[in-house]
């Protein structure tokens, strides 16, 4: 039976267990003179039965479903004759896909070598066996759990305590999922990155100035090595992010100042949500806008002034990205500006300073650390942004500071290297994970610094 069917089945069983335990607890309580003589309400006996039924079964199901594919593949490969064992992981995946194609009926078994056809039948048998074992085990565990809970419906047992402790543990696991996710990210990028550095020395990755991740099919092909220098990607990322921040910081900051210090309540309550709409627009929409409207516009304007502009200029991507992070900068600066105590404002105004002088000489310096924190957060967002640059920036890794030329970024390369079918083992694929690691570390660093600054600043005035 398939996982997709087993899952609802287990849930139904849990509901049944709930109902049965509920009735059982009432039946136990009846001769004693009603449910007031139980240690806990019937609901708790019932909930406990449902939990006992579902949780172990779901754990078994998750573990089995998570690893059955890999285990079966390993066994199938092991049944192949010794001389046809795959020499590399790439070959292994090739053989496996051949075997599974035969097993699924997409490939006629007569057209493949005999050992593959044999393995296909082994695979088929294993898969159906695994399905059966899985279904049987999961249902057995569910029924056993419910049965155990059934025997524990007794007046002297406090089911409420059990239920509450279990729920608390479940809540803890949910909270800890964030840690697991982080661990998963670190694990997935580090593992592949280490494999990448086994092929390409780390010094070349960090300090070489050329990037062209083509690896050849044949060893003797021209340019077969590929170049994996991250510098042009990083300068491209920085160029686009810098343009974005040049747009977003003045616009965001000034509009935050105006809205918090000058604007009437009515203007504030309409302008603010409308500006926040900018943050809600999906990035793919910005990408579309940048690639099909802004970039051609910039090229035409540049041509009119007599400049050469690429149709995928860094400027277009940067400008649009800047617009995207305006609300981010403005809402963060708004928070910080509002956090400056009113007494400082009043003091400055009482001395005869104008509002703008108060802003520039008193509030802004006081809010500066917080604003810088906000800008760092915005920068980390700009560096990690993918869709705008995938659609509007180019693929060629140019080492340039000219915003009218096309550059590429770390995120663009990750996306293009990993979209579509890829062999899991080439330096080209692995390099995407190394780039991901770099991106993760840089954004993490920016975030940690920014959060530290913001928090420290908040403590100052609280």
């Amino acid at each position: 039976m398939q996982t997709a069917n087993l899952l609802p089945l287990v849930l139904v069983l849990a509901v049944v267990a709930y109902g049965l335990a509920y009735m059982r607890s009432r039946a136990v309580a009846a001769p004693l003179g009603g449910i007031r003589n139980l240690k806990a309400l019937p609901v708790y006996y019932a909930s406990r039965a449902a939990l006992w039924c579902a949780i172990p079964a779901l754990i078994v199901l998750a573990v089995w479903a998570g690893f059955e594919g890999k285990v079966i593949q390993g066994i199938v490969i092991a049944t192949l004759p010794q001389d046809t064992w795959p020499e590399s992981p790439g070959q292994a995946s090739l053989i496996l896909s051949q075997i599974s194609n035969v097993a699924a009926g997409n490939l006629n078994p007569e057209f493949v070598p005999e050992h593959i056809a044999g393995a296909a039948s082994v695979l088929e048998a294993m898969e159906s066996q695994s399905e059966n074992f899985k279904a049987a085990l999961v249902l057995l565990v569910a029924v056993a759990g419910a049965g155990f809970a059934w025997t524990r419906v007794a007046p002297h047992i406090n089911a409420r305590l059990n239920v509450e402790t279990t729920l608390r543990r479940i809540f803890f696991v949910c909270a800890a999922l964030a840690v697991l996710t982080t661990a998963g990210i670190v694990f997935s990028v580090i593992l592949e990155t280490v494999r990448f550095f086994n092929r390409v020395p780390i010094s070349e990755f960090l300090f070489s100035t050329s990037w062209s991740p083509q690896t050849a099919l044949r060893a003797d092909q021209v340019g077969s090595d590929g170049a994996f220098g991250v510098i042009p990607l990083f300068t491209g990322t920085l160029l686009i992010s810098a343009i974005a921040l040049l747009v977003a910081v003045p616009v965001g900051l000034l509009s935050a100042i105006y809205l918090s210090e000058y604007a009437s309540k009515r203007v504030r309550s309409t302008a603010k949500p409308v500006m926040e709409m900018l943050a809600g627009i999906p990035t793919v929409v910005y990408g579309f806008f940048a690639a099909l409207t802004v970039a051609p516009f910039i090229r035409d304007v540049a041509e009119m002034v007599g400049l050469q502009a690429s149709s995928q200029s860094a400027l277009a991507a940067g400008l649009v990205m800047g617009i995207m992070i305006v609300p981010f900068v403005s809402s963060l600066s708004d928070d910080v500006i509002n956090a400056v105590p009113q007494t400082m404002r009043d003091g400055s105004l009482a001395l005869g300073a104008t509002q703008s002088e108060t802003m520039k000489k008193v509030i802004f310096p006081a809010a500066l650390p917080g604003i810088i924190g906000g800008i760092l957060l915005a920068a980390s967002r700009a560096i990690g942004e993918t869709m705008i640059v995938v659609m509007a920036a180019g693929l060629a890794a140019n080492l340039t500071a000219n915003p009218l030329e096309s550059v590429t970024t770390v995120t663009v390369q990750i996306a293009t290297l990993l979209v579509g079918d890829q062999e899991f083992d080439s330096a080209k694929t692995l390099s995407a994970f190394a780039l991901g690691m770099l991106l993760f570390l840089v954004t993490l660093l920016l975030n940690v610094i920014a959060l530290k600054i913001v928090r420290k600043y908040r403590e100052q005035y609280e």
């Binding site: 997709a4 690893f67 890999k70 593949q73 509450e164 729920l167 608390r168 809540f171 949910c174 909270a175 999922l177 964030a178 982080t182 998963g184 694990f187 997935s188 990028v189 003045p250 616009v251 000034l254 100042i257 105006y258 809205l259 302008a271 500006m275 809600g280 627009i281 999906p282 990035t283 793919v284 929409v285 910005y286 579309f288 806008f289 690639a291 099909l292 617009i323 403005s330 104008t354 509002q355 703008s356 002088e357 802003m359 957060l377 980390s380 993918t386 869709m387 995938v390 659609m391 996306a415 990993l418 579509g420 995407a432 994970f433 991901g436 991106l439 993760f440 993490l444 975030n447 940690v448």
Partner: protein, 425 residues
């Protein structure tokens, strides 16, 4: 005395300059807001301007004689005959009825290019479904060729019309006058999946894919997020582990979304061997991505429940868990729902991580379940926007409008929920 008045003089003289500065500063603020609002306006205007034609389809209605001799076909049920038959011949013949002077082979070919490339297979499918229509005359509505469609929709734009030859342009003008070529609401857009031909492509497949993916995301992220928020706010002891969890959640909220794609690729596909391109996988990746948003907003909602409620419940003997589940969580629910809807709207617009886990495949069929290959709306927009054909750019803008409509509905729902259900203490 004179000293003071001299100082006052200096201040008075500088006043004008200072007020000027004040006004300038104020102007900068207004300018900044104007820039932000103007870009929003330009963005919307641009997309609507590009995309409104995507909701219109161009059709050519022809009286087609399904002549068996023309098609070299006696028996439509015979697959061998069908593979040899020429189903486009009757269409060209029907067009020639309108232009008897177009007789050379070249002109016939040009005529045939007025009709979408799938027209012939449409006739084949019709004959397979109803073999007795052979040798009858049918009035059939065909989608026009992409270039004709663009020409009809943008008659003034020379950039688009040059794609048709001058003769074709004359034909199209004449057919338009006769009412043979007509435009109507593009129902194909909402009833089909993707296609290689803009006239046959729709967003239904992507909408269903998005829906399935979002269901998985919601089913995982909402309960887990609420449970995590409840734990951190109500049960977590003050210790290192709790601190570590909190730091992790805050950092995850700022991790670039494409990194979650790497996680999905390496862990879900690489380690657990999950199939690519399926809504379950996309939903799981997006759930991990939206979890921090949901946790953070749920915590804020729980925090806003006043302690008096907890104290009252504890006072009449409720256990900690009963206080939380019977009182705090129901009261915080509107805030949690609002935060979750906003998180889901974010997930609905997310593209980057889905590119890495194979949801960019070209998929024609509308997905029927959680384990069918699927694509989602934003990815569909990306695919169409990267296509060079004008017809797809139009469709991409139309799809953006559909996506934005969904997001506006979700955000409006969140606002409504907040206004309707939120209690002020």
């Amino acid at each position: 005395m004179s000293d003071q008045s001299a100082q006052a003089e200096i201040v008075r003289n500088s006043l004008k300059r200072r007020y000027r500065k004040e006004r300038r500063f104020r102007l900068y603020g207004i300018l900044a807001i104007f820039i932000a609002l103007a870009s929003l306006f330009i963005l919307f205007a641009d997309i609507i301007g590009k995309g409104h034609t995507g909701f219109v389809k161009t059709t050519i209605t022809l009286e087609v004689v399904l002549d068996s001799e023309l098609m070299y076909l006696d028996d439509p049920t015979d697959a061998d005959q069908r593979s040899m038959a020429d189903f486009s011949a009757p269409i060209i013949a029907a067009l020639q009825e309108h232009f008897p002077e177009a007789d050379s082979a070249g002109e016939k070919r040009e005529l045939g290019r007025l009709i979408g490339t799938y027209a012939a297979s449409e006739i084949r499918d019709l004959l397979i479904a109803k073999p007795d229509l052979l040798n009858s005359t049918q009035s059939i509505e065909f989608p026009a060729h992409d270039r004709v469609s663009v020409y009809v929709k943008h008659p003034d734009n020379s950039q688009y019309s040059i794609k048709l030859s001058e003769q074709q342009q004359r034909w199209v003008d004449e057919l338009l006058e006769k009412g043979v070529i007509d435009t109507s609401f593009n129902d194909v857009l909402f009833s089909r999946g993707d296609s290689r031909e803009p006239a046959n492509a729709g967003v239904l497949g992507a909408i269903v894919g998005s829906l399935l993916t979002m269901l998985v995301t919601l089913a995982i992220a909402f309960p887990v997020g609420v449970a995590a928020a409840v734990y951190l706010e109500e049960f977590a002891p003050q210790n290192k582990i709790t601190d570590f969890i909190e730091v992790n959640i805050n950092n995850l909220a700022a991790v670039p979304s494409i990194i979650f794609g790497l996680l999905g690729l390496a862990v879900f596909i690489g380690l657990f061997g999950m199939p690519r391109s399926v809504p379950v996988l996309g939903g799981m990746v997006l759930a991990l991505m939206t979890l921090p948003t949901i946790i953070i907003s749920s915590r804020a909602a729980i925090k806003s429940v006043p302690p008096s409620i907890r104290e009252a419940a504890e006072g009449i003997g409720a256990s900690k868990m009963q206080v939380v589940l019977h009182h705090v969580v129901p009261l915080a629910m509107p805030g949690m729902l609002t935060g979750s809807i906003i998180g889901m709207a974010q997930a609905l617009g997310e593209t980057a991580p889905l590119l890495l886990i194979g949801m960019v495949a070209f998929i024609v069929d509308v997905p029927g379940g959680f384990l069918d290959s699927a694509t989602v709306l934003p990815v569909q927009i990306y695919l169409w926007a990267s296509s060079s054909e004008q017809g797809f750019v139009e469709l991409a803008s139309a799809a953006i409008m559909v996506l934005l409509t969904f997001m506006i509905i979700m955000n409006a729902l969140a606002i409504w929920l907040r206004k309707r259900l939120e209690r002020r203490w």
